[in-house]
Point group: C2
Chain length 320, copies 2
């Protein structure tokens, strides 16, 4: 999830994703497809199911934006659901707002089972009325892996602060320094031709490179990261809806599919030293996300009391 300073700024969640190289890693994920709880037709939903359904509503974003997020989350659930626990966030962290209800948010976090390579997956949306009369809407899906694999994390943030513009952050975030570990760059980014997704979006005239004001965000992303601003201006024929449906959506779905198959589900051999390295570097990434990004934005958006409550719970997952 990405949190914005005034307009659009720095991202908070960080994910990664690579592919097989010479080795032939085994898939650790079940082929069975589980039903996403929020899409259940059960007539009697318990509180947790209600909160999940509320989360899946994405009530403040437009049709193709909502459709994309529901598709991505459903894909995660159907293909990785059997490796994940149910959401264990308290109800008042799954859905919360500020005292005037001008800012609202919903979070859905599922930890990986002990046998899974997945640490946790967090989906979320934030809505905030802007003093100018418009609104800021952020939707996000981030997925962290355990140090039992060195495969990248996954990160998607869609940040919309006007009906005609959007910032997109989409990446498989590296877990090792690509300079000290050139094989890592080769395996996960060069051999996989991951850059083709960025190249594809960059061909659109309404898509421009976006520079996050946070140098940490720029540094944590991969060299193939998609970090773009989309501004359709007065072009009614090619609205943001159209760009999400026909361009952002297909790329996001393809990258998530790749991450699920080749990062989350493929078993890799990681030695003890590398595991320690991954644990330490992941810890920095997760702590920075909470402290610097969310820690700076949540009090402003939701007030200190709500921010303290939510961040306090999230720190249990991201590390203190």
């Amino acid at each position: 999830m990405a949190i914005i300073s005034t307009s659009t700024s720095s991202s908070l969640s960080i994910f990664h994703c690579p592919r097989t190289s010479n080795s032939t890693p085994k898939s650790r994920c079940s082929k069975s497809r589980a039903q996403f709880p929020g899409s259940s037709s059960s007539a009697s939903m318990d509180t947790n199911d209600e909160l999940k359904a509320k989360f899946m509503e994405f009530p403040f974003v437009s049709g193709s934006h909502k459709k994309l997020m529901v598709e991505l989350l459903s894909s995660v659930d159907s293909r990785l659901g059997s490796s994940l626990q149910s959401c264990t966030l308290p109800p008042d962290v799954q859905h919360f707002g500020n005292s005037t209800a001008s800012a609202r948010a919903s979070l859905h976090l599922r930890s990986g089972l002990p046998s899974s390579q997945i640490d946790f997956i967090l989906g979320g949306w934030i809505h905030c009325d802007l003093p100018s009369g418009g609104a800021l809407n952020i939707t996000s899906l981030s997925a962290y892996l355990k140090p039992s694999t060195n495969a990248p994390h996954f990160l998607l943030d869609l940040i919309q602060s006007s009906p005609t513009s959007l910032v997109l952050i989409l990446d498989l975030t590296p877990r090792k320094d690509p300079i000290s570990y050139p094989d890592y760059l080769k395996t996960y980014y060069e051999d996989t031709n991951l850059d083709r997704h960025r190249q594809r979006l960059q061909t659109l005239p309404v898509v421009k490179p976006y520079f996050s004001p946070s140098l940490y965000i720029r540094a944590v992303l991969s060299p193939t990261a998609i970090l773009v601003g989309i501004d359709v201006g007065d072009d009614e024929e090619t609205g943001v809806e159209d760009i999400i449906e026909h361009h952002v959506g297909p790329v996001a779905k393809e990258m998530l599919d790749f991450w699920i198959e080749s990062c989350a589900c493929l078993e890799r051999s990681v030695g003890e030293d590398e595991r320690d390295y991954l644990e330490e570097r992941d810890g920095i990434i997760k702590r920075t996300t909470i402290e610097v990004d969310l820690g700076a934005s949540f009090p402003r958006l939701f007030g200190q009391e709500v921010a303290d409550r939510v961040l306090g719970v999230l720190k249990g997952y991201y590390g203190k």
Copy 2:
């Protein structure tokens, strides 16, 4: 120096540069100003002086481009000259070309004295006639520091393949993973507000972000790197000459000044473990520059025999 595949592509030299934080490092550089040998008025120049003068001619680039390179090299010489040895490259590596003379190049490399923090500084130019009738001209200044300091290296590449366009790579290249070492990012990039130089150039309508086809180059650069394409098109009033003189030049000079004062000349405390880390990471950067970038381009530009001779000598400085 940056070498181009067909049009403009990947860079070869890598440098860095930061500033003081809480510590108060001492300056290791002499305040005396030495005369740059190539600008000497001595009537009797020896072969080495002639080669230096030939290098400083930058015979294939236009007025403001040449003026900028001479100013930068003179600045290096006058402020760091007393910490550097004379160029020890053999004459046929200081100036060389291919068999048809359609490609020519000049290199000038000065190693740091044992007491200096500077490993070596390489200036160079490459000219190559293009089959299309135009020419490719690259000018470059790169400076590497020793593991006795963790300050960034310096990198400047100006790559011109048409009279109306230019690729600029200008960076203080990090020597530590900015994620595993967040203090490094803070000290050298955040606290110094280095990003202002990139922001300044990005305000010009003719300046666009440039994506190197080499993921290694994208990964090795800092989050404040200037990696831009400049295309003035048919705009006669704002030609490339004008952009170099009024925009690229001032930024390049300011960044080099900063690197000299705050990176090359400030003494820093580096422990044994950190020194080992820097040595290993620097080694990868330098070997990749020679093997991947120059190693792929020089044979194509100058033929295998000349490339082997030049690269063989450069490996003595960059590592094998």
